[in-house]
Amino acid sequence: MIPAALVPAMPHLLAGDPAPSWAELATATRTVGDRLRAAGVDTVLLLSTQWFTVLGHQVQCDARLRGRRTDENWYRYDFGHLEHDLAVDTELAHRWADAIDAAGMQARRTLYDGFPVDTGTIVASRLLDPRNQGRWAMVSCNLYADPSAMAAVAGAGVRAARDLGRRLGVVAVSGLSSGLTGRWITPAEDRVEDVHDRWNRKVLDAIRAGDRAEVLAMSPQFGEAAQADSQFRAFAFLDGAGAVDRPGEVLAYGPIWGTGAAVVWWGNQEET
């Protein structure tokens, strides 16, 4: 049973003066981190939809990603300045890339000084692993590949981890609906518009019920009607890891600058 989670990608979770929903989502993400550690996870397979690519599937192979990211949209806020220090499980990363190739897809091994780590990865890693003790294996989100390809990529990662005897966790960093508010707002103004809110709750209800087939079936419509983040490839990825065939526990749900965001945990069924 692989522990897994869906966590938000937006940097507002690190705000010094957060909206209530941002604070709840941040707390819930920290809870996921606690649970991953309690489960004895060696390495987390991570997909961030903010590391979006268009050619093949990029696997991060740099052993240490240290730096500071100034977000190109949120630079005027405290949460737009993001220090990061990530340890990559390079043995697993290379094995994962090999497994992607072996599955008939194209892996692209990414190892470049100064490579810009995306905001979603940094935000999630800082909340999940505040003491920088964990290890990560990271893959990009190919927006031109079919969502089912992301499932195959996740499956390759699980096989690679199994071969190496890793105790694995799987995390997808992504939002739900879009509807991003197109102006500068105060945290108190933040809300999800009604239509998108209904869609998000419908999807989360199916997740709570453990109905993965229903979630997958409604994903295209969710992507269309609510402009879901990357057409909800995040769920396809988690499904490919075999991590969502049981009820998910929705730890938090709320708006981030008009978008829908949730923290969902899939643990042992006895836990959830």
């Binding site: 590391w51 100034t70 190109e72 630079y75 300045h81 991003l180 600058w257």
Partner: protein, 326 residues
């Protein structure tokens, strides 16, 4: 096997093509002494930014090395450079779709952006050391004019924001010596939510850009850093510059590009108000990010034809280098 599709690179014949009924125009007017030159927008270029074109050129600023490729497009850019010089601009103003800003239209007001831009999608092709000068006065004027027109705007003054490859790519390909001041504008859209720019807002931003250029008395050349048809492969060959596999994604994508380019070649630009959205619908054109609409709006939708200097595909996307001289 498919070949790179192209139309002839710019020539004196194509350079003379103007709006129907309008006499063939001369080459760009000879430059006068700097103090005598008229301010305003002196030319606009559709200046696509695939990093492959920079990679293929092997400039010293870019770390990866290539064996070439995409020559016809690069020859088009060589002609663009020659013409751009003749216009004697003070500043290049670029709108680029990969400085993605979810909230509003941002203008880079950092006086001297510099650093290395490792492109997250194409890191094997584009690791570019940039160091350029911003025309801060004009940049701030565009922010002010945009805000006055009711747009959400923001002046970027933070040093650490990495400059994106669409901005660098268009600027490098138009002016590889980087000896002209720059103003760089973001694209207000959001790819992971599949939202496009509002073309209506791009009209407003274009008009604001024109007012700012006139108010500051600059001679400006505008660069719209957009490709055309935008469906492309999701894998690439072992040799990225393998021209043996370079071709349009489909014939329909190619035909959509040719229809738009024919409209551009015939003029006047006002026909593009309808043609651009139609082309976006037909080909998922990158002009959905708004750069081309911004450029034409800034130029006031002049009653002229554009001069297509080159067309070619890059990983199957359509790319054209086009000049408009008002």
């Amino acid at each position: 096997m498919a070949r790179v599709f192209q139309v002839p690179a710019g020539s004196s014949r194509s350079g003379a093509r103007r709006a129907a009924g309008t006499p063939a125009g001369p080459a760009p007017a000879p430059a006068r002494a700097s103090g005598e030159q008229k301010a305003g927008i002196v030319a606009g270029y559709l200046a696509p930014h695939p990093p492959h074109l920079v990679y293929a050129e092997n400039p010293p600023q870019n770390e990866p090395r290539s064996t070439g490729g995409w020559e016809v497009l690069r020859w088009g850019y060589e002609e663009l450079r020659r013409r751009l010089r003749a216009h004697r601009p003070d500043v290049l103003v670029v709108h680029a779709p990969h400085w993605i800003t979810m909230v509003g239209h941002h203008v880079n007001c950092v006086p001297n952006p510099r650093g290395i831009s490792v492109e997250p999608i194409f890191p094997h092709l584009f690791r570019y050391h940039y160091d350029f000068r911003t025309d801060v006065q004009l940049a701030e004027a565009i922010v002010d004019e945009g805000a006055s027109a009711g747009l959400v705007t923001s002046a970027l003054r933070e040093e650490g924001v990495r400059v994106d490859y669409a901005t660098i790519g268009a600027l490098h390909l138009a002016n590889p010596t980087w000896d002209l001041a720059v103003v760089s504008l973001s694209a207000n859209n959001n790819p992971y939510y599949y939202s496009d720019a509002s073309l209506a807002e791009m009209e407003t931003l274009g008009a604001a850009t024109r007012r700012a250029i006139e108010r500051t008395g600059r001679r400006a050349v505008l660069l719209a850093s957009n490709s055309l048809s935008h469906l492309h492969w999701d894998t690439e060959p072992e040799l990225p510059e393998d021209m043996g596999v370079e071709r349009p994604f489909t014939h329909a994508q190619y035909a959509g590009d040719m229809e738009l380019l024919q409209t551009i070649r015939e003029g006047p630009t006002s026909r593009l108000r309808d043609a651009v959205p139609k082309h976006i619908e037909a080909t998922s054109s990158e002009t959905k990010a708004g750069s081309l609409t911004w450029l034409l709006a800034a130029m006031g939708w002049p009653a002229i034809a554009g001069d297509v200097l080159a067309y070619g595909t890059v990983i199957a996307t359509g790319n054209a280098v086009v000049e408009w001289v008002p």
